[in-house]
Amino acid sequence: MRRYGFPGLVVAALLAALVTGADGPVGAQSIPRQLRIAIGIDADRLDPAEQTTTTIANIVDYMFETLVDLHPTKQQIVPRLATRWQVSPDGLTYTFTLRRGVRFHDGTPLNAEAVKFSLERLKDPKVAMALRFLVQPVQSVEAVGEDTVRIRLSKVTPTFLSDLSTTQFAIVSPTAVQRAGDRWRSAPVGGGTGPYLFKEWRRGDSILLERNPNYWGKKPLFDEILFRVVPDAGTRLTQVLAGDVHQAMLPPAPDVRGLRRNPQVKVVEAPSDRVIFVALNTQWGPFKDVRVRQAMNYAVNKKAILASVLFDLGTVSESPCPPMMFGYHKVRDGGWPFSPPRAKELLAQAGYRDGFEVNFFTPTGRYIQDFQFAQAIAGQLRNVGVRANVSTMDWPSYVAMIQTPLERTRIQMLVLGWAWPVLDCDGVLYGQFHSSSHPPRGLGPAFYSNPRVDQILDQQRQEPNVERRKALLREAQEIIWNDAPWIWLWSQKWYVVTTRNLEGVLIHPIEKWTALCEPQEPAVGHHCVNWR
């Protein structure tokens, strides 16, 4: 869904317009009745269980709530619809106490039966839940009383509470789901408990939400929120500058520097959990040799590329796992060092004194400046004698290429980004470096295989003790880092541009933003958007 590329001429003109004194967004003093937010894609579905992108999960989050929440800055699990929970000593039974007096938008009370319905629904094959593996450990859900729910797991799942905080696990009104029938996925009327309720979805154009007058938490600021579907990044920016919308996600990356200096608007940016990397096919030719893979890492100047090609919209990787995830361990301060002489030395040791030729694939417009930084990397590799030929293709073909099994794969090296809905290193490490993640079963195009890493990664999935689990993840990160199945690059940022009046918009590490109050528990501190 991401579109960053933009013809230079237009960008120049836009910047010129900024400089020559367009008077910026309308300085409305009073709080607008309707908050308008420009998003880049239309919704696929509005059912919390069936939506598949963080952008749409964002919208769903205004209407639906989960049992527990992940604090956006503290990275700890905080209460939402559940006020308390207990985990049995064997780690297999979770007992939740629900918040009292909460009603769904259709008036149905939130109770244990509704929670049971919502979670069991996720196992129904008729519900197209992309991340169904998250619900696989759930063996049974039992309504113990009106406001007590007991969930039994079939196996120890250290990430279970984090899993419950993802949008997919939102609690829905059983009566609303049944009444809506086939229409539920496109018009979830009355189905949530959140601060806003569903009003209208005009396909390809907009999604309108209305304030929930009976919301149990802090009253939201705006009467309505309108999400406008604006596919072109330049147009999204133009709409903010014209005062048509108050916030836009992902304006063109090359404009961000100018926008940071523009007093009329605010750029809100924060690191996300999406790691960007060049996967090296560890089962192909020169890359079978770990020295060559390490040389590739020494040859690339990450910091220079971030500054000059990505406009500082990224943070250098210091571990295979991004920093905000559970279990993160910084392996190398400042990232893999940049040292072309060392790269040449390692290449010579491996028998590639004169370098070698390699094909290098990258998508275009999927990640921030992807095609551009791939060319920068190829240029730097050329300095140590590695001749990487950059080519690109459309995203569906790209994914099809990644899904190809080893014997037929064309992959030698390629750009990919990886994020995970749950902030836990398991998502990156298991999903990319466990040998079960080799295509076509998984989507780990490095075809990395290390028996010790497999063993650790399996073990940590069974480990209920937090500290022991951290130690396992730490060891895995050390080994994988030095095995260098990727050129470790950066984790990219997520950014929005807002009018200067809108204050306190917060970016979550999972590529979401919030223009609400949260979390709801005073104990961990309120954070609300405001209008000045």
């Binding site: 013809p7 001429l9 237009v10 003109a13 836009l14 317009a17 367009a22 309308v26 420009a38 239309d42 919704a43 696929d44 579905r45 598949t52 992108t53 094959p125 197209a128 839940m129 992309a130 991340l131 169904r132 593996f133 996925r185 496109s186 005009r202 396909r203 390809g204 154009d205 907009s206 406008r228 579907v229 604006v230 596919p231 072109d232 330049g234 147009t235 133009t238 709409q239 500058l241 014209a242 005062g243 048509d244 459309d394 995203w395 569906p396 073909s397 994914v399 099809a400 290429m401 899904q403 990886w418 994020a419 995970w420 809905p421 998502g427 999903g431 076509p440 079963r441 998984g442 989507l443």
Partner: protein, 306 residues
């Protein structure tokens, strides 16, 4: 005439069946897995495989085609892989926006283009002629997305007269209409000019002048009507093309039309939506072509359909 129209409509059926075969085959020839794309990179292979089976993608292509055709005969275009909605409903939601934009920009382009063409032709090699034809050249050459953004910068950001993209009110229609018409105006103007110039040099026009008719009667009544056939053809082609959606204009102006629906479906390999949208587009195009042919008979009474 009635029999002619009926015969043409009947002939359209094999054309449309041909379109289904081509679209069905083409979209499946390009790499890409609808199930994986719909569920995303994080979904497990088991879930993706389950969706493939649900969508019938595990079946051989001929089986899939026959199933598709069978449903089509019952008026069922299938369901979108991405949204799970009926394809007919997806298209119905987008078609009004597309028709609005297509009609508005065709009307504007026709009025402005023909006026410019007539002015240009009657003052051949004058500065007006050069001016009109130069502007027309720009209209053809300017990239739509650039023109669109420039118009937005001027009228939305600087002057704040019109909204910067979006859909709903007549004000929203203005900039995309102008942007889209710019190209067609140019083509229609050039076509009107050259066709009218040819007619103006014919004997019967000289006769009309000779018998003392006013300029307006000679040019508009006698000459223009006879110069219209190629112009009507061009307008018909432009309009038919616009009914399929104008992807660049729709993208720049966040206009919820068929073009974006179709391109989005191609990028998601949403087979049922691609098939449905192209089929509707082909049907509309056929209808517009038929309308143009019928119009010929009115423009030029010598043309008869029997």
């Amino acid at each position: 005439m009635g029999a002619y129209i009926l015969r043409r409509l009947a002939l359209a059926v094999p054309t449309l069946v041909g379109v289904t075969v081509v679209v069905f085959a083409l979209i499946r020839l390009v790499p890409g897995d609808p199930a994986r794309l719909a569920l995303g990179l994080q979904a497990s292979e088991e879930e993706v495989q389950r969706l493939r089976v649900q969508l019938g993608l595990d079946q051989p292509l001929p089986v899939q085609y026959v199933r598709f055709l069978g449903r089509l005969l019952q008026g069922d275009l299938g369901r979108s892989v991405v949204t799970g909605e009926a394809v007919a409903r997806e298209i119905a939601a987008r078609l009004p926006a597309t028709v609005q934009l297509a009609v508005a920009s065709t009307l504007l382009a026709t009025a402005a283009g023909m006026a410019a063409g007539v002015i240009s032709a009657t003052r051949q090699y004058s500065w007006v002629d050069y001016l009109v034809m130069t502007v027309a050249l720009f209209g053809i050459s300017l990239p739509v997305f650039w023109l669109g953004l420039m118009l937005m910068l001027l009228f939305s950001v600087h002057l704040r007269w019109l909204p910067a993209g979006g859909y709903g009110t007549p004000a929203h229609l203005v900039l995309p209409t102008v942007t889209l018409a710019a190209f067609s105006v140019a083509i229609i103007a050039r076509m009107t000019r050259s066709s009218l110039l040819e007619v103006l040099h014919q004997d019967y026009v000289r006769t009309a002048w000779a018998k003392g008719l006013g300029a307006q009667a000679v040019v508009l009544r006698h000459a223009l009507k006879n110069a219209l056939i190629p112009v009507v053809t061009v307008i018909g082609l432009q309009f038919g093309g616009l009914l399929g959606g104008a992807i660049l204009t729709e993208t720049v102006f966040a206009w919820p039309g068929m073009g974006r629906l179709l391109v989005g479906a191609i990028v998601a390999r949403d087979y049922p939506v691609v098939q449905g949208a192209v089929l509707v587009f082909a049907a509309l195009f056929t209808l517009v072509n038929l309308a143009v042919d019928v119009l010929y008979a009115y423009v030029d009474p010598r043309i008869h359909y029997g």
